[in-house]
């Protein structure tokens, strides 16, 4: 156990229809080696011992690859620090006696389920609208080198594919836009030969679903790119803009 004392201001909301409010939680015995989520575990332990309702927050792998953890910490998605998720944020980033604001992602498309947990099903629906290739890959595996792919394209597709769908882009965007997510999902496929046959339909369908979900519009502010735990670049948004433009003007 460490000896850091912190004053947390955490969003509490009993359910989707509750109004919700920020509540103060002092927490002590925090070690600088704890992750932010472990610190919340310590706090929840205290809360449970008191017989109160623990704070709900999403987490799963706790190693920065699942995209479950979220949290808007001190005004930034996944807190201070670049290229990390909340589970990779350590308490050494903070000082003894700090006040820390913890809020859920704020987006019309990500309704709060409880406290800090939001429903990010909108991302699943965008993905399901076209983020796939319609090729049956089970049982008829093709040799990987049968289709030559330029290294640069493979690298760019991989960079896009590192998106974990956490929603930090939406949370950071002053417009609440989901363009970085959608662009990453379009890019990772349209750059590769396997994704090319469906690229027009994919760009149109995924953007249509993105708009339906009630996300805002991209104005190239670039906050998403800065806060993205996987450093996905705005270049992918430009690629989606191209893909969609080409698909719109050539569709029949």
């Amino acid at each position: 156990m460490g000896n850091m004392k912190l004053n947390l201001k955490i969003w509490r909301q009993a359910g989707p229809n509750d109004k919700g409010q920020m509540k103060d939680y002092p927490v002590s015995n925090v070690s600088e080696d704890m992750s932010f989520l472990e610190m919340l575990d310590v706090l929840n332990d205290d809360i449970v011992r008191k017989g109160e309702d623990p704070i709900a927050f999403d987490h799963d792998c706790r190693e920065g690859i699942c995209g479950s953890c979220s949290l808007f910490i001190n005004g930034e998605a996944h807190g201070p620090g670049k290229g990390i998720t909340t589970c990779q944020l350590h308490m050494r980033r903070f000082k003894d006696g700090d006040t820390i604001h913890v809020e859920p992602w704020r987006s019309a498309a990500f309704p709060v389920i409880k406290d800090l947990a939001t429903n990010r099903g909108a991302f699943d629906r965008i993905q399901a609208a076209g983020g796939f290739v319609s090729v049956n890959t089970s049982g008829n595996l093709v040799d990987g080198n049968a289709v030559p792919i330029p290294k640069d394209d493979a690298d760019k597709a991989f960079d896009a594919a590192t998106c974990i769908g956490c929603g930090a882009c939406v949370a950071s965007c002053p417009n609440g836009s989901a363009m970085l997510f959608t662009a990453a999902k379009v890019s990772q496929l349209s750059l590769l030969p396997q994704g090319k046959p469906e690229r027009k339909r994919r760009a149109l369908a995924m953007v249509e679903q993105m708009d339906k979900e009630g996300f805002g519009n991209c104005s190239a502010i670039g906050a998403c790119e800065v806060e993205c735990p996987k450093n996905i670049s705005l270049e992918h948004i430009a690629r989606l803009n191209r893909e969609y433009l080409a698909a719109t003007v050539t569709k029949e």
Binding site: P174, G176, D211, G214, I221, A223, N241
Partner: protein
């Protein structure tokens, strides 16, 4: 919300924003060039000649309608985008550290645009309404030739319009600084080699065009233009 037609999807709205924005930038170049004729210091003779051409050439007059259409499209589209963006975050953050991830002006295009619109209404009232609707005084000995120059001299003899015009130029500067490069991104132009050049040209253009426009009322007020 229905997202079909002219202002269809989020991306179509952004294409319109970019295209009308770039079109309005091209207008700024023409406008600044014509106005810069006052710096010939010939009592506005060259400037009035250029203004006469702009006011009487049928092609230019036709383009005036296209210009207003582009401007209105830019404004209406901007308002729609702004209201959708607001609706996308109904509950605001209790604490948001914008300085960590963005420039203030890139996230303030709506308010900067509104300031520009207010300036534009003042500007149209000062010059456009007089030259196109209510009529201007003619140059002595040249019937049919309006003296737009004397209007500038009179408007900019007072400090209040000069200050407002300079503030308008500041809004223009910040709006262009983000808008110029953002327009390219919106239509899908983002390239390792060219994007840094676009950003540099955009910044240079924003500085030069805003400073040039601002220098006009200021130099007239200070009596540098004879």
């Amino acid at each position: 919300m229905a997202r079909t037609g002219l202002f269809g999807s989020s991306l179509v709205k952004k294409y319109w924003m970019a295209l009308t924005g770039l079109f309005l930038i091209s207008f700024l170049v023409v406008h600044a060039t014509v106005n810069a004729m006052i710096f010939f210091n010939d009592g506005g003779v060259t400037f009035n000649e250029a203004a006469h051409f702009m006011g009487t050439n049928p092609l230019i007059r036709a383009m005036e309608f296209v210009l207003f259409a582009g401007l209105i499209l830019h404004i209406v589209d901007g308002l729609i985008l702004w209201s959708q963006n607001r609706a996308a975050r109904p509950v605001k953050y209790a604490m948001e550290k914008g300085s960590a991830n963005r420039s203030w002006y890139s996230a303030s295009m709506g308010i900067l645009g509104t300031l520009l619109l207010l300036f534009l209404m003042l500007h149209l009232w000062h010059f456009w309404v007089k030259s196109r609707i209510t009529g201007l005084r003619e140059i002595e000995g040249m019937p049919g030739h309006d003296n737009l120059y004397i209007e500038m001299v009179e408007v900019f003899a007072h400090p209040v319009p000069v200050v407002l015009y300079v503030l308008g130029c500041f809004s223009l500067f910040w709006h262009l600084l983000h808008g110029f490069q953002s327009a390219f991104q919106s239509v899908g132009i983002n390239h390792k080699r060219y994007t840094p050049i676009i950003k540099m040209v955009g910044a240079g253009f924003s500085i030069v065009i805003s400073a040039l426009f601002a220098s006009m009322p200021v130099s007239m007020y200070l009596g540098w233009i004879k």
